[in-house]
């Protein structure tokens, strides 16, 4: 047993890093869908925009990372606001229209980013203080990923507390559960929707800034992270922070530990896991209870 644990220890740690990165993406997607019933296929574009921001602004110093984070946050908020405004007129016209619009936006944005940054994958260096590797229980592991686990855990805890324990969070949860009832009580739900959209988008873009040294920006990365976060949402259940967190951590392990255990089935593991959940518990493993 300890031999097995030893061989796969790094994979499990890395699964946590991956899971937390996926969480920053999936939580926005999940809330926006669960709450506004809007399917935002441009969500991966926000990650990519954040990652390119990190590439363009990070110069190996802490200041560079800080500037990249601030700019990424602004990019995310702006992007989220624009997307929310773009899909607003489509309210009630069904998912296909929303999907077509947001996918179109993501394709245009992808072409623009290729024009700006070229067609190469651009590996992004973390701050030089975090660029090496350290020994964790006798295994070599990149310092940056350890730091990322720390920061992302903090981020996830903050999001969880804000959503589950604050009055604004209660309002958001109420809107997820029954939008019409909240509106009847005199709350302008559109403001809540815009707020959640912008928040989710900002989180995805910040995830991109922090995640750039792990999943480097390049053409096609937007779709890849979108697909991953859609799978997380399916597995975790809609409109729930807890579901997104647990789903993301599970997919993180599937993508690292799972691949290490059965490498020859690597291409099937992700969708195999999704298929299993869809067949056995279609509402998602950790879906919030609702009427």
């Amino acid at each position: 047993m300890s031999g097995w644990f030893n061989a796969h220890f790094v994979s499990m740690v890395d699964g946590v890093a991956y899971g937390l990165l996926l969480f920053t993406l999936a939580v926005g997607l999940s809330l926006v869908f669960g709450m506004m019933d809007v399917l935002n296929l441009a969500h991966g574009t926000l990650y990519l925009a954040g990652a390119y921001t990190a590439y363009a602004l990070s110069d190996g110093s802490w200041l560079g990372l800080l500037i990249a984070l601030v700019v990424g946050l602004v990019v995310g908020l702006l992007g989220g606001g624009l997307l929310a405004a773009a899909v607003a007129p489509l309210q009630g016209r069904g998912h296909l229209d929303q999907a077509a619009l947001t996918l179109g936006i993501s394709l245009i944005a992808a072409e623009v980013m290729v024009m700006l940054f070229g067609a190469e994958v651009l590996p992004t260096a973390p701050p030089s203080a975090l660029s090496g590797s350290v020994s964790v229980l006798g295994h070599t592991y990149p310092v940056y990923r350890l730091a990322f686990i720390g920061i992302a855990t903090l981020l996830a805890a903050l999001v969880y507390l804000a959503f589950e324990r604050s009055s604004v969070g209660a309002l958001v949860r109420a809107t997820v559960a029954d939008r019409d009832m909240v509106r009847t009580m005199g709350v302008d739900t559109r403001k809540v929707l815009f707020g959640v959209f912008g928040f989710g988008a900002a989180l995805a873009a910040v995830g991109g800034v922090l995640g750039a040294p792990i999943i480097a920006p390049g053409p096609g990365i937007d779709e890849r992270v979108l697909v991953l976060s859609l799978v997380v949402v399916v597995i975790g259940g809609l409109g729930s922070v807890r579901g997104a967190l647990l789903g993301a951590l599970l997919i993180g392990q599937v993508q690292t530990l799972g691949v290490a255990l059965v490498p020859s089935y690597a291409p099937f593991l992700l969708f195999g896991a999704m298929l299993l959940v869809l067949a056995l518990r279609p509402q998602g493993l950790f879906a919030p209870g609702r009427a």
Partner: protein, 395 residues
């Protein structure tokens, strides 16, 4: 009701996004079309990617071809030439459409270029039936063995591996672990490597193929390689995947523990800068390196650096050689009287080509028989570079 159905909808959306993204290849920008009077200069189609993931290779090949033309006053075989550029894009469809345009609309006499093996497979029939010679300067799938009008100045896909296999079998005291991208080129490379590796008594630890192009995190694969007890690793990756692979190989502590051997693309051109110091000590096999010592290479490197500010890659060199092959063939075919058929015959009759890589000759299937080199990534005057360590013999 909604709660039950929406996850399925998202699943469908995920599948749709996957499919659509596969179609999203950039096909912007056609070619530079210039008017040409009939009976004037010989028209040469240059089919290289001007968009998409292979654009940097296309840029190298375009520059290599242009350097040769500039050295020869835009004349090949004593005749002025007009180069018509067409964008290969990144898919078989975009490449085939561009080849069609060159052959049917622009009515070129010969075509050169082609980066992607998928495009090469897709255009075989076009060139064979229209009897227009294609002097390819990169793509060379192992399956292409019986074409009459298709030549390549590069190498067959499995040759970098084959050149390296016997050397690694002798050098490494223990087993070798194989990790390669799961597509044709990766399979070809490992197959070529194992052909000479097994024959020389090499021992295989395991052979694993990583999903392509989906893999960005190699950690689980590297963890398995690390705990396998192998003494060395042979890998095949190119482009963005090569950058990620080499960096993670270092980050997860395999560098310094397990020697890393690979086909030359792993550290060729722009990817080496992106890999940074993680690439130090990586061994690769290639048919060319900018530091080869011969007169022709010295002048080629100088001219190429003056034009682009970069050291030439094997892609640029192969394209330079394609221009050289056409130069020899057009001259032998009678200069101004040369047509597609006579040029094709003349190409086959070329006995040897003096090249920056050294002299090479045609193999039976229209690819070079050439010397292979073992290179190591070293720091030279503050920058990282592939440095030739020794020859690996002729193939």
């Amino acid at each position: 009701m909604r709660a039950r159905r929406t996850p399925i909808l998202i699943a469908v959306a995920a599948a749709t996004a996957l499919t659509l993204s596969a179609c999203g290849g950039g096909t912007l920008g056609g070619g530079d079309e210039e008017e040409a009077g009939s009976g004037g200069p010989i028209k040469i189609g240059l089919l290289v990617p001007q968009s998409g993931v292979y654009k940097s290779l296309g840029d190298d090949m375009k520059a290599g071809f242009e350097v040769y033309l500039e050295e020869h006053d835009n004349m090949l075989g004593g005749v002025e030439v007009e180069v018509i550029l067409a964008d290969e894009g990144e898919t078989a469809d975009s490449g085939k459409a561009a080849a069609d345009k060159l052959v049917k609309q622009d009515e070129v006499t010969v075509v050169t270029g082609v980066v992607s093996s998928a495009v090469m497979n897709g255009v075989v029939d076009l060139f064979e039936t229209s009897k227009i010679p294609l002097v390819g300067s990169n793509a060379s799938p192992t399956t292409l063995t019986d074409a009459t009008y298709i030549w390549r100045t590069s190498y067959v896909n499995d040759q970098p591996g084959e050149a390296l296999g016997a050397y690694v079998a002798e050098q490494v005291d223990g087993s070798v672990y194989f990790l390669a991208a799961d597509y044709q080129a990766g399979l070809d490379e490992v197959t070529g490597f194992k052909r000479s590796f097994d024959a020389a008594g090499g021992e295989t630890a395991d052979e694993v193929y990583t999903p392509f192009p989906g893999t960005t995190n190699f950690q689980p694969f590297l963890a398995n390689a690390n705990s396998s007890g192998a003494e060395a690793l042979f890998s095949f990756y190119a482009g963005g995947a090569a950058v990620e692979f080499v960096k993670q190989y270092d980050q997860f502590g395999l560098k310094g523990q397990i020697d890393h051997y690979s086909a030359g693309f792993l550290t060729e051109g722009g990817v080496l800068d992106a890999q940074g110091e993680s690439a130090l000590g990586t061994f690769t096999a290639m048919n060319y390196n900018f530091d080869l010592e011969n007169e022709l290479n010295a002048s080629f490197v100088e001219a190429y650096e003056a034009k682009t500010g970069l050291k030439p890659t094997t892609y640029a060199m192969a394209s330079y050689d394609a221009a050289h092959v056409l130069d020899l063939a057009i001259e032998a075919a009678g200069g101004e009287d040369a047509d597609s058929e006579s040029i094709n015959t003349a190409i086959g009759e070329i006995e040897k080509v003096e090249s920056p890589r050294g002299t090479w000759t045609w193999s039976e299937i229209g690819t070079p028989v050439q010397t292979w080199y073992l290179r190591e990534v070293q720091e030279v005057d503050g920058t990282l570079a592939n440095v030739v360590i020794q020859e690996l013999g002729e193939l």
